[in-house]
């Protein structure tokens, strides 16, 4: 009887484990159903590599938006990942537990501030600053990257720091006992042991940056053009969808779903790369 319960538990869990994959497939099916026919009609190459976006005039090229999404995401990671990981290390290794107990929740609180609020701050504070000190319209790649970089901090810090906190103390003590300085023990032992958690936090953060919509719409300027400097305005793939979806009809609407497909595929590729990085590193160990 007991074993029966055990079997039920196992199969129930297995079913549950499909929930994420099933949701993903469901989403994929719906987005592809709406966007794929359009993509084939226009031609995948023309859609991806043309630089002219004017749905009213029947021009559907999203190349500048692909570039913009990549710039903005990597810019955000350039800011968010080092700051976040550094913060997680510092809070776990070089600060008394009581301080950590106050600071970490404060940072996690930030995850709950709506992206729209971040966007508004970007418009009110950051964009004018960039406009006066660096030129351009202020709404720019830089503004978007900075805002997104800040927005992903809670994700990076809280997950990295859980991973670092889970490294057994004996590892650190082992290194310290061999005469390593605190930093050497962190650098050589803790970071290595917590690596998978740290990378997981960065992947999650990257996903969030790439997928962020509202804040980006507000601070990126949304001009469909390949940027030549960090102060140029850009439009990301997500911004394109959200900007025009509300009022798009017919072909224009299908084009936005097709943009969704591209976003979907880019995320798949990024994930694939990230996962294989983790795998090769684990194997080398």
């Amino acid at each position: 009887m007991k074993l029966n319960g055990e079997k039920i538990a196992k199969y129930a869990l297995m079913t549950v484990a499909f929930s994420a994959l099933a949701s993903l497939l469901l989403i994929a099916v719906f987005i592809f159903k709406e966007g794929l026919p359009f993509m084939l009609k226009v031609g995948v190459k023309d859609f991806l590599l043309a630089s002219d976006w004017d749905p009213q005039a029947g021009k559907y090229g999203i190349y500048p938006m692909i570039i913009a999404s990549l710039y903005v995401t990597f810019g955000a990671m350039l800011i968010g990942a080092p700051l976040g990981v550094a913060g997680a290390i510092f809070l776990n290794e070089f600060v008394p537990k009581q301080v950590m107990r106050v600071v970490k929740p404060t940072i996690e609180l930030l995850a709950g501030i709506p992206s729209v609020v971040f966007g508004f701050l970007g418009v009110m504070v950051l964009a004018p600053f960039i406009r006066t000190h660096m030129g351009g319209p202020g709404l720019s790649v830089l503004a978007a990257a900075v805002i997104l970089g800040i927005m992903v901090l809670p994700t990076v810090i809280s997950i990295s720091s859980d991973a670092i906190g889970a490294v057994p103390n004996s590892y650190r003590e082992g290194a310290l006992a061999l005469g390593a300085t605190r930093w050497q023990s962190v650098y050589m032992v803790t970071i290595k042991a917590a690596r998978s958690g740290i990378i997981a936090s960065i992947i999650l953060a990257m996903g969030r940056a790439l997928g962020e919509t509202m804040a980006v719409i507000m601070v990126a300027g949304n001009t469909v053009k390949i940027p030549h400097s960090v102060t140029d305005p850009v439009r990301t793939l997500t911004a394109n969808i959200a900007l025009e979806m509300a009022n798009a009809t017919g072909m224009a609407r299908e084009a936005l779903f097709a943009t969704g497909i591209v976003l979907f595929v880019v995320i798949m590729i990024l994930n694939g790369i990230a996962l294989s990085v983790i795998k090769t590193k684990v194997r080398k160990k």
Binding site: S19, L21, E34, F90, F94, P114, V186, G211, M214, L275
Partner: protein, 279 residues
């Protein structure tokens, strides 16, 4: 010339400390900015009365209720699914092609932008399943959105439970399921709570996906099939449509404070829990 480890340490710690300080400073600035702009307009009247004139006057009570109900529903759906998946992946299978596919799916789901969740939720729950804009459509959509976060964090937390605990439990005649319930999950709880907090945070802060699925009706929801407006959506509409910047900032301030309260509650609960077990 070899640099002494002491100097490397000093430089590294200074850099790390500066980075942390910068992070904290930026975050604190944001909170102070929002509270400073919003709090002067917040009072009991604002919190507990119905909005008037599309939100230009009056309070935010229905959106307060919406902000509580919607994330609660999302977590109620996502938590069992997410923790169940994490338990399955860590306790019930070995690394196989199958689990790699599951994990890849989870990671991809994490990367899907909220706007796509919104569109999907709209087409699937609202239109195809004919549920309309409602608490349930929104809750389901948000549940799918926060699922990867909960799976990931739960998995990390479950993995960090020492294996010796499991062996002891098995050797005392526990089945796998009993071991999971009595030993693994209680010890993984802090990590799971972190995931839940992140999930709640994301649900509270979400705008795009909520507007498309839960709608934005400015009324008190009377059932799971009623449309709700969360504070984030309210802020978005107030600010973006230029209805009232004061009310918008006041809403944002209430939002920030409520997230703070949720976090504090969860943390104190967790600490009490940990303290009880190691007393």
């Amino acid at each position: 010339m070899k640099i002494s480890p002491k100097i490397t340490q000093a430089v590294a710690v200074t850099l790390l400390g500066a980075a942390t300080l910068l992070t904290v400073a930026v975050l604190v600035f944001i909170i102070i900015f929002v509270l400073g702009k919003g709090l002067p307009w917040v009072d009991w009247e604002f919190l507990f009365s119905a909005p008037k004139e599309m939100g230009r006057a009056g309070g935010i009570f229905p959106t307060l209720v919406g902000t509580v109900l919607l994330p609660l529903m999302a977590i109620a759906i996502a938590l069992p699914l997410g923790v169940g998946t994490a338990v399955y992946l860590t306790e019930y299978t070995r690394e196989t092609r199958f689990t790699r596919i599951l994990r890849f799916g989870t990671d991809c789901l994490a990367g899907i932008p909220s706007i796509l969740f919104g569109l999907f939720g709209f087409i699937f729950f609202v239109i195809t399943l004919k549920m309309g804009w409602c608490l349930l459509s929104g809750g389901l959509t948000l549940a799918i959105m926060v699922l990867p976060t909960i799976i990931r964090t739960s998995e990390e937390a479950i993995r960090s439970v020492p294996n010796s605990y499991r062996e002891v439990s098995f050797s005392l005649g526990a089945t796998r399921w009993e071991t999971v319930l009595k030993v693994v999950l209680p010890n993984a709880l802090p990590g799971i709570v972190t995931g839940v907090m992140l999930g709640i945070g994301r649900s509270i802060g979400e705008t795009a996906a909520v507007i498309f699925t839960a709608g934005s009706a400015l009324r008190m929801p009377m059932s799971a099939f009623d449309s709700v407006r969360t504070m984030s959506v309210h802020f978005y509409i107030l600010a973006r449509e230029g209805i009232s910047n004061e009310k918008a900032y006041a809403t944002a301030a209430v939002l920030v404070i409520s997230v703070l309260l949720v976090n504090l509650a969860a943390y104190s609960m967790m600490h009490r829990f940990i303290a009880r077990r190691s007393r």
